[in-house]
Symmetry: C2
Subunit: 335 residues, 2 copies
């Protein structure tokens, strides 16, 4: 309980505390028998290093932080997995913080993290672009890498996925499949990702098919069902023969509502989602979807951070953009 310190280890082993420290940090500089004695004392006393003291002396911690928007969102948990992969070799530790989409909690986490002198921060900020708090963090010398956020931010590295390209891929696929009337389901446009995906599909379709837009208040299954109901009620000659949704939840909702109404997917209407969540492949009709390299996003973000940490002043910020990939499944197979 009363945690034993290096001092007691030293006494027990009959050496000075400097020697114990050497055993811990530079074992080769210590004579073999002394080392043995110290190690014996350590395990006899159940000594555990005190990281606070260590950090205090070192002036910095050995942790990097990932601040995610929402731990319950598979996108972010996959990113975290990628980060952990990249970091494990270095003797750094990853701490995961959840802002839960609350600016207040994000703030509290950043305060805490700065007090802990973390070596760096990977963050998808609640706001579309990093606010004053994050800028201050950077200014004071903590490297920050932005994940999937912050167009035209230049004070740090960024990793993003090309959402316009994702929209384009979906659009091109549907046009190539011969669809002349296509709907884009998604919203609100204030989410940059949604707007970009829209832009992308619009560009791909332009001049080749008619694009209808169905706005949704959010990106949920329920909103998808509502949008599908709207679409299903259009007259035959106006009803699109293909739907591209801004994410998979919407697409699942669309699928569900269409099935309930006897509209067959893909026979009567083709369907493409976005994100390729685990359940896309497992849906009643396996869902075509645009996949983002989530783990790689995390891995790369972590690599950039590690580079910035090791390069110090010499570091030049970089922006890495990933290309998404279209996964074609039954829901958009040529009927």
């Amino acid at each position: 309980m009363a945690s034993t310190s290096i001092k007691e280890v030293a006494r027990q082993a009959g050496v000075s505390i400097g020697t114990v420290s050497n055993v811990l940090n530079r074992p080769h500089t210590v004579a073999a028998d002394t080392r043995e004695r110290v190690l014996a004392a350590i395990s006899a006393l159940g000594y555990v290093r005190n990281d606070s003291a260590r950090q205090l002396r070192a002036g910095r911690s050995r942790q990097i932080a990932v601040v995610v928007l929402d731990v319950t969102n598979p996108f972010f948990t996959d990113v975290v997995t990628g980060v952990e992969d990249a970091v494990t070799e270095n003797d750094l530790m990853v701490v995961v913080c959840n802002s839960g989409d609350s600016e207040d909690r994000q703030l509290r986490h950043l305060d805490q993290l700065e007090e802990q002198r973390v070596r760096g921060v990977l963050i998808t900020p609640v706001e579309a672009r990093p606010g004053e708090r994050i800028e201050r963090l950077v200014e004071r010398g903590t490297p920050v890498v932005l994940v999937d956020r912050g167009a035209d931010w230049t004070n740090g590295c960024r990793v993003t996925v090309d959402d316009a390209m994702g929209g384009r891929l979906a659009g091109e696929h549907l046009v190539a499949s011969g669809h002349a009337r296509i709907a884009f389901v998604g919203g609100p446009e204030s989410i940059p990702q949604v707007a970009e995906r829209h832009t992308g599909v619009a560009a791909a379709v332009r001049g080749k098919a008619k694009l209808t837009v169905v706005r949704t208040p959010h990106l949920t299954v329920t909103d998808g069902r509502r949008a599908a109901a709207q679409i299903a009620e259009l007259s035959d000659e106006r009803r699109p023969t293909a739907v591209f949704c801004a994410n998979d939840l919407l697409a699942l909702g669309v699928l569900q509502e269409m099935t309930a109404r006897g509209v067959r997917v893909p026979h009567d209407i083709a369907l493409v989602g976005y994100d390729d969540i685990t359940f896309a492949a497992a849906a009643a009709v396996p869902l075509s979807s645009v996949r983002q390299p989530r783990e790689q996003l995390g891995r790369t973000a972590a690599d950039l951070l590690l580079q910035e940490i090791s390069e110090g002043e010499a570091h030049v910020h970089r922006h890495v953009e990933f290309q998404p990939e279209l996964v074609v499944r039954e829901s958009s197979a040529r009927g």
Copy 2:
């Protein structure tokens, strides 16, 4: 970059460091104008408290850790959310560690956490019951609460969900719906949860219906499809009219395969899953499922830990068991 210390704040404000510390920790004991001066200096210099020094002095940290089996599993992320809810009021911080089902990583995390002198640990250990490392942690005075693990462990608090009861609920529901031949799909039995759910359904069904067991190597959608194929190929008089799956992924697989084979759910075969993951309600045929109070599990675990922390020696370990709840949806509606 060179983080400013309390000392420079003191100099800038023309007071002693003790006074600065007082402004930070007991503002009311400091004269108003002095306080103002100090606060001005703090913001002018961009001073950020050094948590390591603080902790070193205090002898303990202000963090509690949650070590989860798998961050990408929605079960655990919901538990984490519950923990965060419970902890926010206290000025403790939650750090999330992911053992990724690897004993090695779990070990590394526990070592790190102990060096950091965390106040307590919430953990679902990789092993079925806490191993030597966890016992040592407890012995040395770090409170540990086990989440959904560790039958008959007495060295700390535990929270669990009554899996046998979950199985029983599903079984009773299906029997009450008039099914005479029921299948249990799941495996491996070495997972305590699977075995308990099996026991529960067996008890509920005994004497009222015939229970067939279809073993699966894992708990995935693919395994569910395979199991469904086996079931679909039985002769009409032997084929069960209802299936209870050990988790929702299996159930989704079963649903998919049945649909593909033209077997209608629930008309030809009823289906009940376990976990009530988000996508259970969003499946092509909304899935009946046994729901576990995931967030509450986390909240309660955190509460127990906080109690143990505050009660100290006087603390008596407790075991809280939650009852799951059956959510009936279309997949098991009376045909």
